[in-house]
Symmetry: D2
């Protein structure tokens, strides 16, 4: 930590800081300039609160040197984090495609979309059972019923599934059905939820908040990692800025920056960034070219009837075309969008992870 | 809703929209311009999803007319919401002062600060028992122990107390001790939490998120109000912008804007906005002059030792001086910062709201 | 300057920096931490380019210590800058009111408004002769004709006048008519213009840019001051943020922050910040309470007919009422909005500052 | 234009608007909803000022339908604008690479870099002779001397040259030397300058401002186009947002959005967006994948000695490697980065565009 004193700060002010710092077991290196004193503090940054020092007499500002995140940092773990989820490798040389509808609207709709996404080249199925809606009067998701449909879609297609969880009390339930837990942009700093998914040990995809910095994003990941849960995926989904033609402003540089600062896989969600299907293709291509480890794409058969986010959803045909074109981009940057035929459907069975599955029962 | 067609949109595109809208029971008013068609839709905006229409052929954009919040709006309830919390009237002509330390650091520290704040003119005591910290390694609050100290401080001073709750599972517990539940800026769109505090029926102070618009803020309030919980206070605490000299950028206009759009009381938190104690005074004065119904101020006896937010905390003496000066501002805008001597301490009793209170037991 | 080396930076990288710094005549103070080296550099920051050092091997970041502005800083000149413009004292204990129409629309309209503003309590008349319009097809101002009307209004009311200049080539002409040159928000970093008004020696009011930090604002002032022109007024007029209910987001903290960092007077323009007349009053009161040295208010007799910015203009009656109420606020913070009757009209004369004035000639 | 009346607006308010609109020759379509009246206005939006209507009694808001830009819009000109500058085609299927140093630091330095950039694959040479510097004390550029070096570099390499102009009074001079005039981000709304470059008839590259929306960017282009100057290139260079790891936040979606709304070529400047050389490569690749018509890249032989922007400059070797890799990306999206060997140096001649060139004279 570097403590910058005000010009004309008193010697006694400087001494007070030195005493406080040394008392905490840190070493002090004062630098006497012509107009002011700057104090270098060496030691564990966690011991001394930067804002406490900032409140002391004669102090102009306090600048941190050490990054506040540890387990999430490349300094801590230089090699890329790579892990497998249901047969799909995330964080390696493959570019992973997650696709599916925004909301799960019904069993047949989801199954149809799951098959269409797999045919289009997807590796992981997305679908919302619990929806964070700005309005309390809007459709809030099918809940556990949706989770069951999701599990059934996994069995029929072999694709692992990802879905959002918003309530710490529901983490256990969602873990029973989903392969990856999604933390939405509004909950990036919902620490009760981060602690709950951290403790679950389940793979987690953490979306960046609308106005969060990379540092805050990695600090949120640190909450999850601090519970020993190392399977964390970062997802850039657009930030708040001045532009109104798109729903959010896709921050392309978040991809190389997060990958430089952290070992965690970074994927992009061009659908929420664009907010309009016609721009999804360009953002998806840009993201892969810039080094994204994967994409999350909203796909819907009849977007003009979608219960949410129809405006930004691709139809399956367009999705399929886009994935083909993305392969060329991936190869140009030395990567691959692998064929998804190795994802083999399992036979429908009675009960998913121990839960009786009424959706399947109806089939019998 | 107004549907703006692209120049050159086909007649069949227009007819498709008219059919969809009429099928939903809404009336249609097409306006044929020289270059394009605009369709006015009259009816209940909740029936038709604006983004579905936006996805249809030939549509350029869809503009909402009706505000998405209802219970929170002035149109719904023209007169100001005024309510009493533990003898303090919020939302009326009085300007209410909430003050106290950022974190509850211990029993004696809190009690000392509570008395100092009351002497300085405060009406409501603040203090964090559960702290939302950017780092998982930082002090996370004393938890229920802190809540007990808070309740004891209320008994000794007569001031009702406010504290943050972050986990839906803890809402019931916090209600047992606190008079007002605080929803922090990071949780403004944590819908599981909003639903929980809405159902609790307890008074709630809802902080605006760092990048939230007034509309989103009122939509978040709508979540709470939709459960029939009408005692909601809005709190502006600064937004994210480009300035780095302050911790956040205090959005003064949020006060008159929120009061124009909504009937809910609006208070200001200049401490978190400024992030530096030396600017708190100016922001507090500006907020009261602009019509704030109250202020929330961080006060600490030894800010340079504070476990959190010491940089922005006022010492009791300065707080007291500021409240005196604020009285002049309040009177210049036809309001009053009332004397707090009517808040009468209750005798310490065994158990707060039915909970045994070990802090008190120790005293016996 | 503090140079933070990457963890694991080589000793030769550190030596290369030390050599470069010492070669430039600066002193070096290396601090050896457990994981990394930090190098304190003492000397004139102008000598070494921070970004050059940042590009050297092994460097993680470079942090400036010295503020980049000098003449604008309080460190350079601790006492407030106070100066007189046409009988009005700016920067002292008085709060100065500048008022008038957005655009000068015609001679009689301007003169009528000038008298109305003076009756309402204004000290300085504003009015745009050259208008920065987003559209090339919108009304661009009356140009020199407008300047002549402005000069005539000054003679009839005794109020000095302020008007915007956008082209360096017109600075001399505008100086002939106006008492204060206004630099608009879009031109805060138009260095050719800043140099031109700096050289003119005329008083200048510098609006903050829509996304500019206080540091950039003071650096822009530094351009003007560096020519020896010390009569600079800073004007906060709202920044870009996420809110859409107001035209811009008024940054109240800019007032105390700019006054802490600089000795220059700081005024506020609540009209452009709000963009809606109904919120101007609240922002104006907040600004004065927070320490603004003055206000700039748009006033128009028939705002619904205004050629620009009618939406945010107050009618004279409301302006007059607001100034009366502002007096109470000013007094509550130990200041005064002085009576403007000491501003005495001069007799209409043939020619203003040497220019023949056709508007007057018509009268003869 | 759509005029939304407040709920409960009076019939007389509605009639006043209808009269005003009809008086201006526009047609009116009132839509009577349950709670409020909405008025559709058909006719030329330039006739009636939206903000005037917004100021009338009973009006809640006024929403524009017609885009404010005309000549810049795709509606006005559906086909892409393609033009040739010195043998380089801009806006067609080729992706054009502009490269060179931030500042022109000397004759030999520039010539060396020009040759290195050409060898690396560049088509157009950039270099700043007039530098917009935040500090008045920083290096401001070599001025006309720099322009002469630039012209010489063009002759030696055959590459056309681009350079920034900041003062309307210097536009003519810069046109004598440069093939493309650059308008910097700080001057996007410097209307005096936009008018001057518009009148010049010279090709112009218009950088987006740091907080400008696409609409404002196209309105700025409209200023230039309104003078009949159709050779305008748009350049996205990063906006202001919350992230601090990069200098600006590169807005990838600006590329497809601007190309959807306008027929003008759109290029990207990843150097200024990133602010750090290590991220330039990723952003450049993302931009080309997303459909950019070109790139502007800062290249410097010894960035750690650069007089400006060394932190973000690539060394020639890395630039060359990047261009090779970009070719693969361009091909994956059906485009090409053409070989630049067709750009043939001209023999050094006495005088460039009629100006005597001392730099050349020295050679004789």
């Amino acid at each position: 930590m570097i403590v910058v004193m005000k010009p004309g700060a008193k010697e006694s002010d400087v001494q007070a800081i030195i005493q406080k710092v040394e008392k905490a077991g840190c070493a002090v290196h004062p630098i006497i300039g012509e107009n002011r004193v700057v104090i270098g503090v060496v030691g564990d940054g966690q011991i001394i609160d930067r804002r406490q020092i900032g409140r002391m007499h004669g102090v102009e500002s306090v600048m941190p040197i050490t990054k506040p995140y540890k387990a999430a940092s490349r300094e801590f773990k230089p090699e890329d984090t790579v892990f497998d989820v249901g047969g799909v490798t995330i964080g390696g040389s493959d570019v992973v495609i997650m696709a599916g509808p925004c909301s799960i609207e019904g069993r047949s709709e989801l199954l149809e979309m799951a098959h269409a996404c797999k045919e289009g080249g997807a590796h992981i199925l997305r679908g919302g059972a619990y929806k964070p809606r700005t309005s309390p009067y809007a459709f809030q998701g099918l809940g556990e019923e949706g989770l069951r449909y999701l599990a059934e879609a996994r069995e029929q297609t072999g694709m692992p599934v990802i879905t959002e969880v918003m309530d710490p009390a529901l983490v256990e339930l969602v873990c029973d059905y989903a392969d990856i837990l999604q933390i939405g942009t509004r909950n990036m700093q919902n620490y009760a939820l981060l602690n709950a998914v951290g403790k679950s040990g389940h793979p987690v995809m953490l979306k960046r908040s609308m106005s969060g910095t990379t540092k805050e994003w990695l600090m949120a990941a640190e909450y999850i990692l601090s519970h020993g849960n190392e399977r964390v995926i970062l997802c850039e989904r657009g930030i708040r800025a001045n532009e109104t033609e798109t729903r959010n402003t896709f921050d392309l540089s978040a991809i190389p920056v997060a990958k430089a600062l952290s070992h965690l896989p970074v994927i992009a969600d061009p659908s929420h960034a664009a907010g309009k299907w016609e721009f999804v293709d360009s953002l998806a291509k840009g993201a892969v070219a810039a080094g994204a480890d994967g994409l999350m794409i909203e796909v819907h058969g009849t977007p003009e009837e979608a219960w949410s986010d129809g405006r930004q959803s691709l139809k399956p045909k367009r999705f399929s075309k886009m994935v083909k074109e993305l392969r060329g981009i991936a190869q140009a940057v030395g990567r691959d969008i692998p064929d998804n035929s190795r994802l083999v459907p399992s036979l429908p069975k009675n009960g998913v992870n121990g839960h009786a599955d009424p959706a399947i029962e109806i089939l019998i």
